[in-house]
């Protein structure tokens, strides 16, 4: 009897072994996940010197060609995903408020995208417009408005490929609440992903999902932490940290991928899945990213090229449009007050309701002659994608900034809301001899609301006192703020009016 029991057990093990081996070799389902993230409106190829100094990379048309080429290898089993931050970042996308990117994504038949923090950069109304004009769903399982998911946004979708039910759950960084202009997200709650994800996984599994993909705009470190904390995730397709995850990473059995940024790479994750169990028995382990080269011999998708060409032509028209007028030449002065610095700082004050504005002279890149001002001139004037940063600084912090300004190491600070008298004959560190905020002398112990740009806020050009700021909020892009100011106040007539008086 003992022998016969052992024999039956042996036969059972043998049977399981052969059935598993058989299913591993003959019945596995091939699924291909194509993914991008943090595209940031990069529809046109560009040079990334760290990749190649001569051959451009990225560009929607070249990316599209590779997507279609990969999809053709497994047309029934391919999923195309975006992990968010698709629209904001380049003139061709910014000017048309993301419309060309949506057109490209619709043409490429994206299956889903998760909402990134930058999807709120132009407010929720625009997000809703994108959703309406998209042929793919926007996902976010951890953003709530009045206790419900965002209107027209799903926490997840379940799609079917080759008979396999695949759940795609969207998650967005909770930092969005603090790093987007407050007005745009003040009515939203961003819930910690690990609090919502277990229930969402339970829900999709109860609906028969064999495979669970988290489409995450959380960042690489957060993706790894999520895989540690939450069981049941098969794959995390990530974004936000712009990480070039060349080889797939495994954390507690979860596959983690991320395709860099700006559409320079396409992530190609091939999975071999056992249909009975939903187990992933094989996957791309190395070289998961394909670099999108855009050199003369590289192939591109003509349809996407047409879409981009159409907008690029319109962009030239938009660039030539008049956005304002000046009655005087707008002239830079690196080491002294300038009328162009004054008007930029006035625009910053108006957009932020701060008391004082500071702009680095080095961030102002051209003069503008008297007359009409075009959008192109504004882009040349302010070419950096700086955003406003509003913060509390003490009078002592402000004095430190002005003393640094007086060193002239990196040019003088352009200002609004403040009048400064510098005596350059005095030693460094004691050159600021008089400061007025409005009509009151600067009080070293008082707290002032100050607006600057993100370069200075990070302590750029040695203006490190900005890093002592408190209660910071981010604002709109400086260039947009300046355009709005021009539209409202033109013709402008700024003068050098004694905001910075220099004794030489």
């Amino acid at each position: 009897m003992r022998y016969s029991k052992k024999f039956i057990l042996f036969l059972l093990v043998l049977f399981l072994f052969f059935s598993l081996s058989f299913s591993q070799t003959s019945n596995l389902i091939d699924i291909k996940i194509l993914h991008i993230n943090d595209f940031h409106g990069r529809l046109l190829p560009y040079i990334v010197k760290s990749i190649n100094e001569k051959i451009p990379v990225g560009g929607g048309a070249y990316l599209a060609y590779i997507i279609n080429e990969e999809r053709a290898k497994n047309p029934e089993g391919t999923i195309l995903l975006s992990a968010g931050d698709m629209f904001q970042g380049t003139p061709i996308s910014n000017i048309f408020k993301g419309e060309p990117v949506i057109e490209m994504m619709n043409y490429l038949k994206f299956d889903a995208m998760t909402i990134g923090n930058h999807e709120f950069d132009w407010g929720q109304d625009l997000l809703q417009q994108w959703i309406k004009s998209s042929s793919f769903p926007f996902l976010a399982g951890n953003i709530l408005k009045d206790g419900k998911y965002l209107p027209n946004v799903k926490p997840y979708i379940i799609i079917e490929r080759k008979g396999l039910k695949i759940a795609i759950i969207g998650l967005t960084t909770t930092e969005t609440a603090y790093i987007v202009k407050p007005d745009y997200v003040k009515d939203l709650t961003f819930v910690e992903p690990e609090k919502v994800l277990p229930n969402l996984i339970k829900e999709v599994k109860s609906q028969g999902a064999n495979l669970v993909i988290v489409l995450s705009h959380l960042g690489y470190d957060a993706d790894k932490a999520l895989a540690e904390k939450v069981p049941g995730i098969d794959v995390i397709v990530g974004g936000h940290s712009h990480t070039v995850v060349t080889d797939t990473v495994i954390v507690r059995g979860t596959i983690i991928v991320q395709a860099g940024y700006n559409g320079i790479y396409l992530g190609v994750l091939d999975l071999k899945i056992q249909p009975e169990t939903g187990l992933i028995l094989g996957f791309t382990k190395e070289k998961e990213l394909k670099t999108v080269f855009a050199g003369p011999e590289d192939k591109y998708d003509p349809e996407v090229a047409k879409i981009i060409d159409k907008y690029n032509t319109q962009l030239k028209e938009e660039f030539s449009k008049i956005v304002g007028e000046t009655l005087v030449d707008l002239v830079r002065n690196y080491n002294e007050e300038s009328n162009i610095g004054n008007v930029i700082c006035d625009a910053m004050i108006e957009a932020s309701n701060a008391q004082i504005a500071f702009q680095n002279s080095g961030g102002i890149r051209t003069d503008i002659p008297k007359g009409k001002i075009t959008m192109e001139q504004v882009y040349t004037l302010l070419p950096f994608d700086n955003v406003l940063v509003i913060m509390d600084l003490t009078g002592k912090d402000i004095l430190d900034l002005l003393e640094q300004s007086a060193t002239l190491e990196k040019g003088i600070l352009q200002t609004s809301g403040i009048r400064v008298k510098y005596d350059m004959t005095r030693p460094i560190g004691s050159r600021v001899i008089e400061v007025f905020v409005g009509n009151e002398p600067l009080d070293l112990n008082k707290v002032y609301r100050v607006v600057t740009n993100d370069f200075l806020a990070a302590g750029g050009d040695k203006f490190t006192a900005f890093t002592r700021g408190k209660n910071i909020v981010y604002g709109d892009m400086l260039r947009d703020v300046f355009v709005e100011y021009l539209k409202k106040h033109s013709p402008i007539n700024p003068k050098v009016e004694g905001r910075s008086i220099i004794i030489k």
Binding site: D38, E175, I179, D221, T243, V244, V245
Partner: protein, 79 residues
Amino acid sequence: MKEKIKVFVNDKPLEIFQGMQVKHALISYDIDIYKKCIDGEYIVVNEDGFEIGLEGALSDNTKIYIKRRREKSCLERQK
């Protein structure tokens, strides 16, 4: 929420405002290094050795390292 996060650039701790990116950490660390990263002479990698973009998001206690660009990368065009 924490208004500032701590990040490590080449193991040197820095405090930056929440929401700031790799480029801001580099500006704070050494503006010349930042310029070399823009010029492609250096690249930034994370703790696991993966390259990260200058506009990549940072979180509390993220460690990043500056490396001279490799002559050959697996992502470069195959001849």
